[in-house]
Point group: C2
Chain length 421, copies 2
């Protein structure tokens, strides 16, 4: 017998017929002899509808009242899943965020979970009752409703799994696991049996949208074993116990799971970046600070940065990337600061993609980056910027070359599936 | 300065634009120098949508989980009204049922309010904050969400008004007050400046759908002055303080408000009844009990009852009315019991209307019923059944004669508005 927390997203909860399919997965998991808690999102589209109401009511909305409105979506699906499980003959009840409670800080609309009182929850699960918990919502120290920010239900699930000391947190999504790259780009992409928390964090941060980054960080911190798997399965498909998805675990556990982990775990493409180049910036102390200080103050996250070697006359070009969503604000801020910074021209380009290769194997193997640069050069793909971390190498390329780059790198690192799958 | 509880129904809260109109009424009420709390319903149609989900999920739904689902509708409108008030520059916050809390018994889906902790609420109102409270919802002794049954928001408003010792509870509806009869039937119907609790109870029970009966009972018990008025007014219409609606008060207060209260307050027509006649029932002790016992056990409410004088052979006909919604179940139950009861035939008729004249004046004036019977007889309208209470006389007539009967009675009791209005 294991204790399992299951999480289902908005697409899986969109309407009573889909909720019935979710309930069937949950029922079978419990019938296999496990203690089960389920964390649910709102029906797909519902949170957007509620957020829309808030914006119409008050463009500069009070996040405390916004939270009251948007938390209603998960309340509805929690009750409905409990009802559906009961209709299948299961014992089930909902536990709202304020009922457990899921204690958070008071940063409304982007609250962080601080603690979950799990005694009543564990007692209920031990008594054979399926616990249904709305994701996304919590209770602040003043007793008011909070929400965790968009996508927060993954984090709720991991936090509940940590609180009840679950053996596993199964995140059911519309994909059946974590792949070596986007299967829509590379037909030979392979589903990974397991990845480490750090690899998943890097993949999440570079555009693999399988899990919310915060949930992976929390799982790493709390040592929660997370499995990603598909909720769109036949009613008699194998149970999650038979590990059909991708396990996200610690380095140590990974070594136990796989004889030899792939050198490279995956290749991600992030089309969400924009490149900004400031030409002829004075090559003097403080010049770079005068660029990035105001951006940081405006909460604009800068990713890749390249400062060319100084040309003649003590001037240099500075190139960096921001998200496309932040590009307009970035341009406006830098124009305001043009005198202070002292640049000649600002050139922006949204038609870029960041390609990243990720893998814990990089720590012990040299030559990963060299393979990347050579593979791209052989195809005459120009590298516009480079950044690296301990387990990741990223390059910025022209967006038109995204698919080609991902495909040739996938082959170069030996990730292509064989015909046997 | 007064302390006022305002209540807005689902039609008034249907969408952010209507909520803005509600917020404007609330803002102006507060700006006139009052302490204000607002009780709101879910958006029109939303509760039906949520109830529909529950039925799809589980036909025999657990009322505790049903309550979790349907309470979400009022949570949404509470947050949205608070946001809208804030956008107008008012201080406002929502107080959910479990936050105050509004303590109820544990009769889920039809809970009764037992107590409301009002300290925090009063302190907030005294500090100039508008309190926004979802109607319909509460918290049971086990800490689970309850709802009060359909239309329960009127009761929530009266209960909040009692708890904060409000000077007045203004119920905003889609009509602008209580009329002498349905203005769609009688063009000369007049809006009443005031009625007593008991008159309102009788009017509510006989088909005047202005207020939920339970809310009137509670107002009477707690001595809450209730005003019914319209939420569909211009942004610069007179405030509720100028009493544009109908006040519902005690007998004593009514005497202070009106020099001479109308003998008859109003005439109501209830088309929701069905007549059942059992012929040739044995005229022996226990025969009637054998009819109504099983109906009571099945929670079917019997209204008017007539037992004809015994005919020959110790047999009699028994006629009674039930709501049309209960007619099928009533027929099935009585067929089952046919042997036990020992009747000859069962005749049913849904094409009937119950016409009631209501007024506290009846207590001191004789001849009210006689006027009714004579007025109907003059128009050859046949009376099929009669029932009376201390302040009401009801007759059952053919449904086709409803409009005629209401109109002639309205004139006979001197209720028609003069041309001056």
């Amino acid at each position: 017998m294991a204790r399992i927390v299951m999480k289902f997203g908005g697409t899986s909860m969109a309407g009573t017929e889909r909720i019935r399919r979710v309930a069937n997965i949950v029922r079978r998991q419990q019938a296999a002899g496990h203690e089960v808690a389920v964390v649910v999102s709102a029906m797909a589209g519902e949170t957007d509808r509620l957020v829309g109401f808030c914006r119409e009511a008050n463009a500069l909305y009070d996040p405390a009242e916004y939270d009251v409105v948007v938390a209603a979506g998960e309340q509805v699906t929690s009750g409905l899943l409990a009802l559906t499980l009961q209709a299948m003959g299961c014992k089930a009840r909902s536990w709202l965020g304020w009922q457990l409670p899921i204690k958070t800080d008071d940063a409304h609309a982007k609250a962080r979970i601080e603690d979950i009182d799990s005694d009543a929850l564990v007692a209920s699960m031990q008594a054979g009752e399926i616990a249904v918990i709305p994701g996304f919502q919590g209770l602040d120290p003043a007793g008011r409703v909070t929400t965790l920010g968009r996508g927060g239900s993954d984090t709720s699930a991991v936090a509940v799994a940590a609180a009840v000391k679950a053996d596993r947190c199964d995140i059911y999504t519309d994909v059946d696991g974590v792949y070596t790259t986007d299967p829509r780009i590379v037909a030979k992409a392979r589903k990974l049996p397991s990845v480490t928390y750090e690899e998943m964090l890097e993949l999440a941060s570079v555009g693999s949208k399988v899990l919310q980054t915060r949930s992976v960080s929390l799982a790493m911190k709390e040592g929660v074993r997370v499995q990603v798997l598909s909720s769109f399965v036949d009613d008699d498909a194998p149970l999650a116990d038979d590990l059909p998805g991708t396990m996200i675990v610690s380095d140590e556990e990974l070594e136990g799971l796989e004889m030899e982990h792939q050198l490279i775990t995956g290749i991600a493409a992030d089309k969400n970046e924009a490149k900004v180049t400031l030409t002829r910036v004075a090559d003097r102390p403080g010049a770079v600070a005068s660029i990035f200080g105001p951006l940081a103050a405006a909460n604009i996250n800068v990713d890749m940065i390249i400062q060319n070697v100084a040309k003649d006359k003590g001037e240099t070009d500075v190139t960096f990337t921001v998200t496309q969503a932040d590009l307009d604000r970035t341009q406006a801020l830098l124009e305001e600061q043009k005198e202070t910074i002292g640049f000649y021209r600002m050139i922006t380009d949204s038609k870029v993609t960041k390609i990243s290769v990720v893998g814990v194997g990089m720590r012990s193997h040299a030559g990963i980056a060299a393979t990347m640069f050579k593979t791209l050069a052989d195809r005459r793909i120009n590298i516009q910027a480079i950044s690296t971390s301990e387990i990741k190498v990223s390059v910025l390329i022209d967006a038109d070359e995204t698919e080609l780059a991902v495909r040739v790198l996938h082959t170069a690192y030996g990730l292509d599936a064989t015909d046997a799958g």
